[in-house]
């Protein structure tokens, strides 16, 4: 099997040297096909319980349901790297097919960069982390999957988040190719944007699914713990969010070119850096993969990528100048630029928090930050970003508003300033309402009104559209991206509201109850009915029944005898319109009483709803829109203006 994989990397390695574009691309496709074959072989080995493969024996057993056995493909270090290479191969091939009209050199370089990245993964797969290692003694049964992972979430969250993670390589390849080919104009932007958007959407979905899974399975009442693995998944997402906004400045105004290249490259470097950090075990995380020898390989790869990127940007710096044009701070591009700086600021905060244990460990006693660090350091930045989301879309581009300072003209508010009245008023109303309701937490009093203002901005934009309903179909067609983006912003406002409410007003209570006894948490009353012991196929469960209104919640504690008596919490959640009632069973006592930790989490459903709206907005605004966007770009920016 390893020999088979070696053939794969030989193919991929060979095509790097191929200057002939067609040959190079076909070699890439061939490599992709071979990776698919390798993946199919591994999947087949998993499904047929071929325990002669170490990977199969370590990650599955005979008792695991078939769907989860199949998921074992990406459940371990080696398999997840193969899955990564698979995603790169498939998406890379798709992007190369789509790039056929971009010009020979650009397409060739993009194929070369992609092939180099795939080759790296294949080399690591063959030399240090092969999923096809054989065992000398074939065990009768495998070790099985960690019980925490025996859940439906395992089927969707890891593949989506890994695919998102892997796909950041594609925008990077095209950015690098554009620089290599000396064509840093906007053609690559429209092309890269689609793939950046796809990576971003996958990553958004993956992150939210991860939050959803953590919330429903882990039983600590939260969904985000600022764990290093979460952080490294968040950072490229932040950088790409910045890119998706700043690329519009380049499309519309021909500016921020170097910055856009920088962002795309940064997103990919963050992916490699993050992979190194969490997979080499240099930073402690609850997600840690088995410590393996891949650390130095990823460190070397990171080093090569950084040097490559810096040299590339430096040598092409002369071509990256924007159009000379006076800069106006209060303008759409001003808002984009500030938003970008703030997002990169958030990245800096997260990086520092993630690597602090490393850095402090080198200079003295190791120190770690807790969640409060991220909240205090990133919170203010995120609030300003929210404010920009409320105001930015209403500001005119560049000098169109001649807006410097002059909000009034002839005694009247300028149009953009008038548009700002709605979000401003909404924010004020929400602020007053919260204050009257007795809210005294400053962060809540800042975050929620701004979120409301963002929603108001989006809604007024849709309302303006509605007023001109005759033009509605054509407007929606021509400005799809724009209204899709407003929908995504609206979704984010909903999501932020959910996060803020569940963060500021979460209540928890530890109780021990005798059967029939009641407890009230945040106005929600629960009655403990009693506990029963159940015996299931591979584990036993202690189920504590809790009456809540008309429903009976059944939080449970499962014990897996086959895994050294490892126990696992089954959370019971009842969703009401305003809050989730979240019950965790701690255990039962000899006298028949049961002990529970009960959380009341306000508006958590808003997080999932908001995320869904974001994805719907992005999909509606962009899927199938490709030719129009490319054309618009070409029309607006005919050629790079030498400056």
């Amino acid at each position: 099997m390893a020999g088979f994989s070696a053939v794969l990397s030989f193919w991929a390695g060979w095509q790097e040297n191929a200057v002939m574009v067609q040959v190079g691309r076909r070699a890439f496709f061939a490599a992709a096909v071979m990776i698919v074959l390798a993946g199919a072989v591994l999947e087949w080995a998993l499904l047929s319980h071929d325990f002669s493969l170490a990977y199969v024996a370590e990650h599955t057993d005979l008792a695991t349901p078939t769907a989860l056995v199949a998921a074992g493909f990406y459940g371990g270090q080696e398999g997840s790297l193969l899955y990564w290479a698979l995603v790169l191969g498939l998406l890379g091939s798709a992007s190369l097919v789509a790039s056929a009209n971009l010009g020979v050199r650009l397409a060739a370089y993009a194929a070369g960069v992609l092939a180099a990245i795939v080759s790296f993964f294949l080399i690591v797969l063959v030399l240090v982390a092969s999923p096809f290692d054989l065992l000398s003694v074939i065990p009768p049964d495998g070790l099985g999957l960690n019980p925490v992972l025996r859940d439906g979430g395992m089927l969707i969250h890891p593949p989506v988040v890994l695919a998102g993670f892997a796909s950041f390589a594609i925008p990077f390849s095209f950015a690098a190719a554009a620089l290599l080919a000396g064509r840093p104009d906007s053609a690559w932007i429209s092309h890269t944007r689609r793939f950046a958007l796809m990576a971003w959407s996958l990553q958004t979905t993956g992150l939210v699914l991860g939050m959803w899974w953590a919330y429903h399975v882990l039983g600590w009442g939260g969904y985000w713990g600022w764990d290093p693995v979460e952080n490294v998944a968040l950072m490229p997402w932040l950088a790409t969010t910045a890119y998706l906004h700043s690329s519009q400045v380049q499309e519309k105004r021909g500016r921020l070119r170097a910055w856009n290249f920088g962002l795309v490259i940064l997103a990919f470097l963050l992916v490699v850096f993050g992979t190194f950090i969490v997979r080499s075990g240099v930073v402690q995380s609850v997600h840690t993969f088995a410590i393996s020898a891949i650390g130095p390989w990823f460190l070397a790869f990171l080093f090569v990528c950084i040097v490559f990127s810096v040299v590339l940007l430096a040598t092409r710096a002369d071509q990256l100048g924007g159009r000379a044009e006076p800069t106006i701070l209060v303008s759409r591009e001003g808002a984009f630029a500030l938003q970008n700086l703030l997002l990169i600021g958030v990245v800096a905060v997260v990086i520092w928090g993630t690597v602090l244990p490393l850095v402090s460990g080198m200079v003295g006693q190791q120190r770690v930050v807790s969640a409060s660090y991220y909240e205090r350091a990133a919170g203010p930045l995120l609030v300003v970003i929210l404010a920009l989301m409320a105001a930015g879309p209403l500001l005119p581009w560049g000098r169109a508003g001649r807006a410097q300072g002059a909000i009034y003209q002839d005694g009247r508010l300028r149009p953009y300033a008038r548009a700002l009245v709605w979000p401003g008023a909404t924010a004020l109303v929400v602020l007053v309402a919260l204050a009257l309701a007795g809210v005294r937490s400053i962060p809540a009093l800042v975050a929620l009104p701004f979120a409301a203002a963002v929603a108001a901005t989006c809604i007024t934009q849709f309302a303006r559209l509605g007023r001109r309903w005759v033009l509605l179909p054509s407007m929606l067609r021509r400005r799809r991206r724009r209204y899709g983006a407003y929908l995504a912003h609206l979704g984010l406002a909903v999501l932020v509201t959910g996060i803020a409410a569940s963060h500021f007003w979460q209540q928890e209570k530890d109780v021990t109850l005798a059967p029939g006894q009641q407890v009230t948490v945040a106005g929600y009353t629960l009655t403990y009915l009693g506990a029963v012991e159940r015996q299931l196929a591979d584990h036993s469960e202690l189920v504590g029944a809790m009456r809540f209104g008309d429903v009976t919640l059944e939080p449970a504690r499962a014990t897996y005898a086959g895994l050294g008596g490892q126990s696992l919490t089954h959370v019971a959640i009842s969703t009401t319109p305003l809050a989730d009632v979240y019950v965790v069973m701690a255990g039962a006592n000899a006298d028949g009483s049961g002990s529970f930790r009960i959380f009341v989490n306000p508006l958590v459903t808003w997080i999932w709803a908001g995320a869904t709206i974001i994805i719907v907005g992005v999909v509606l605004g962009n899927v199938g829109e490709r030719s129009a966007a490319t054309e618009a770009v070409r029309r607006r920016i005919p050629a790079p203006v030498p400056s």
Partner: protein
């Protein structure tokens, strides 16, 4: 480049926020290091859970001894424990050492050797 000034301002703000909030960083110690650690505040102490785990109140209150190679300390904690908590695993207790010599933990983190895989056969 007129963006330089705003960029510097933002960078300055970010730097300040990181600096100001970084003060909340906690020391990460072993049980032995805790002995010689001066300075109050919350710390995180890593060690192995010993066999004397005593759960009361249906598992919501627990006392145990945490030990590294040379030193040990009693730990007291109220709340739900990580699923994999049991004698023999490594945990990180976050909290304060009280005057009574007992470490009062406000969180217990279990360091799973690995979340995505179990012990390899090859060892």
């Amino acid at each position: 480049m007129k963006w330089v000034l705003p960029a510097l301002v933002v960078a300055g703000c970010v730097g300040y926020l990181i600096y100001a909030s970084g003060g909340s960083a906690e020391y990460y110690l072993t049980v032995t290091e805790l002995r010689s650690h001066t300075g109050g505040g919350y710390v995180r102490v890593a060690g192995v859970v010993q066999d004397d785990v005593l759960k009361s109140d249906g598992g919501l209150h627990v006392t145990f001894t945490e030990k590294d190679g040379t030193a040990s300390m009693p730990v007291e904690y109220s709340g739900t424990l990580p699923d994999i908590f049991k004698p023999g695993i490594t945990v990180v207790a976050e909290g304060k050492l009280g005057g009574d010599g007992v470490f009062h933990a406000r969180t217990i983190l279990a360091k799973c050797p690995s979340r995505f895989s179990t012990t390899p056969y090859t060892q």
